[in-house]
């Protein structure tokens, strides 16, 4: 049913650290790699090697330039995927019941067998988290790797979303944001994790950690050592004599 379940105690989600993300897109690739062969239809590409390639992805990494009032501009890499909102508008608009939020852990999923591909859920999402697969005509979205996190056939350390498992800088964290004692909840409290577009009143579960304030960069003149020429040999002798005169 597309009615939202009562708020669950367990709220699985991601915490994304914008301070450490280097924008390598490894999470994008790992996500596409895993979700191409697991949950639901594969993430199709159209004209992948042609002049206008296009494809379905569940995770995208943007890069922004932020200019503070004082100091130099910063480049901030910004991964964007489903935030598994508590008040998910993509769920209630669905006419078929294909879009749903799990009562037990809050993961928002699509039952692809019931999806008619009307696209209304993608319209309702402020974050662009849903993309309609052009080959299968069904809506695709982040599953929080539901087929990994509970999968007892995988070694313990692999039971987390593919994007989190692969991130080389540890910028992505997975856990229960409904438990104030969990590592992710503590991280959010400590670093001032925030919601995206709070004015849309979606109550996202995923949180973003702001870039840490940067100190003033030390003035380094990279050419100075090169200009500081020490005369040697005859020139050095001449230099010393002339100094003494």
């Amino acid at each position: 049913m597309t009615a939202l379940p009562p708020p669950s105690a367990k709220k699985l989600g991601l915490v994304i650290d914008l301070d450490t993300c280097v924008g390598c897109h490894a999470c994008v690739t790992a996500c596409k790699g895993w979700n191409d062969q697991g949950y639901g239809v594969p993430l199709s590409d159209q004209n992948a090697y042609g002049s206008e390639p296009s494809g379905t992805f569940l995770n995208r990494v943007h890069s922004y330039e932020v200019q503070p009032e004082q100091g130099p501009a910063q480049i901030i890499n910004f991964p964007r995927s489903c935030l598994h909102c508590e008040n998910a508008p993509c769920v209630t608009v669905c006419p078929t019941g294909a879009s749903y939020k799990r009562a037990e852990d809050g993961i928002v999923l699509v039952n692809e067998d019931a999806c008619i591909g009307c696209g209304l859920c993608a319209w309702a999402c402020p974050y662009g988290a849903r993309e309609l697969d052009q080959a299968a005509g069904v809506m695709k979205k982040c599953t929080l790797c539901v087929d990994r996190i509970y999968n007892e056939n995988l070694p313990e350390e692999d039971r987390q979303p593919a994007c989190v498992r692969t991130c080389p800088t540890g910028a992505r964290h997975f856990g229960d944001l409904g438990d104030p004692g969990s590592a992710v909840s503590k991280l959010v409290a400590e670093r001032g994790g925030y919601d995206l577009m709070p004015e849309m009143e979606t109550k996202p579960v995923n949180k973003y950690l702001p870039p840490r304030p940067k100190g003033k960069a030390e003035e380094i003149d990279v050419l100075a050592p090169l200009l500081d020429v020490k005369a040697t040999g005859f020139a050095g002798w001449l230099d010393r004599i002339l100094e003494k005169l």
């Binding site: 049913m1 200019q67 019941g97 009307c118």
Partner: protein
């Protein structure tokens, strides 16, 4: 938003169709026999073609029946029910008119009300979306209702009422265009709030997330068609509102006059509905530095 032809055809034709059926259900025009068959047939055809067109934008139309299941929460599901209920309620009324029997008046009124509910449900599919501030406003249901009533009055031959409704619709269009322009700013979503980086400083896109296109860009960040928006707005107001009103009031009352007014009005309705989509800005565009 991408102005998909199937959705434009669907909303314009089914709106006019249910508007006409509502007027016929209320007994706006006493027709029998062939005239009744033509008029009721036109109502059913417009509504039916519109609903069929809506199926063309589905990724999996063979599962369309599932759209009837979620009426508790989904406006799209409610619209599907309301449309079917309206067509079913009015069928005996239509048949009675065609075969010269006394049309069941109570059923006609009920069917007419159901037609209005259908139009309202269609408009709520768009109005409910907070992500598209221009739609998420009272002007959206007012416009859908205005178009349906104007077309309904016109096609059922109520010339004076139709002319007045057309003039009101023209004013409503101007108001919707003007007020709609301020909606995005009023909602307050910005790249700063979308990324949360507004707290650090002013944000601009440095590099896009992907160099190729994708579903989001094609479907929700359609900004190429706005070039002629100002001219199309004028065409919409004149063709949907002013001109049909003048035609209905000035030319002698005849089927040809109504047909001419209706064709002009429909052309204006298509222009207005095209703009309704093309000018709607989805907040996801912020992430791409576009609207």
């Amino acid at each position: 938003m991408h102005p998909a032809p199937s959705v434009i055809v669907f909303t314009v034709l089914s709106g006019a169709g249910f508007g006409l059926l509502a007027f016929l259900g209320l007994g706006a025009v006493a027709v029998t026999g062939w005239a009744a068959l033509l008029l009721w047939g036109l109502g059913y055809a417009l509504a039916g073609i519109g609903l069929l067109a809506s199926a063309f934008h589905l990724g999996n139309p063979q599962r369309a029946l599932r759209a009837f299941t979620q009426w508790r929460t989904s406006w799209l599901s409610r619209e599907a029910w309301a449309a079917v209920v309206s067509l079913a309620l009015l069928a005996p009324v239509a048949l009675a008119a065609v075969f010269g029997a006394e049309p069941p008046a109570a059923l006609g009124v009920l069917g007419a009300l159901s037609c209005l509910v259908t139009i309202a449900a269609t408009s709520m599919i768009y109005t409910q979306l907070k992500t598209i501030p221009r739609w998420n406003f009272w002007t959206t249901p007012a416009l859908f209702m205005g178009f349906a009533l104007a077309a309904g009055a016109m096609l059922s031959g109520r010339a004076v009422l139709a002319a007045l409704l057309c003039l009101a619709l023209g004013l409503l269009l101007v108001a919707a265009f003007r007020l709609g322009d301020g909606r995005f700013a009023a909602v307050g979503a910005s790249l700063g709030s979308a990324t949360g980086l507004g707290a650090v400083g002013s944000v601009r896109q440095f590099a896009p997330a992907h160099t190729g296109s994708n579903y989001l860009l094609r479907e929700m960040i359609h900004d190429v068609g706005r070039k002629h928006a100002a001219r199309l707005r004028m065409i919409a107001v004149v063709a949907a509102g002013l001109l049909p009103a003048v035609i209905l009031l000035v030319l002698p009352a005849s089927v040809a006059t109504v047909a001419l007014a209706a064709l002009v009005h429909l052309a204006g309705a298509f222009a207005a509905r095209w703009l309704f989509f093309a000018e709607a800005e989805h907040v996801v565009g912020l992430y791409y530095g576009r609207r």
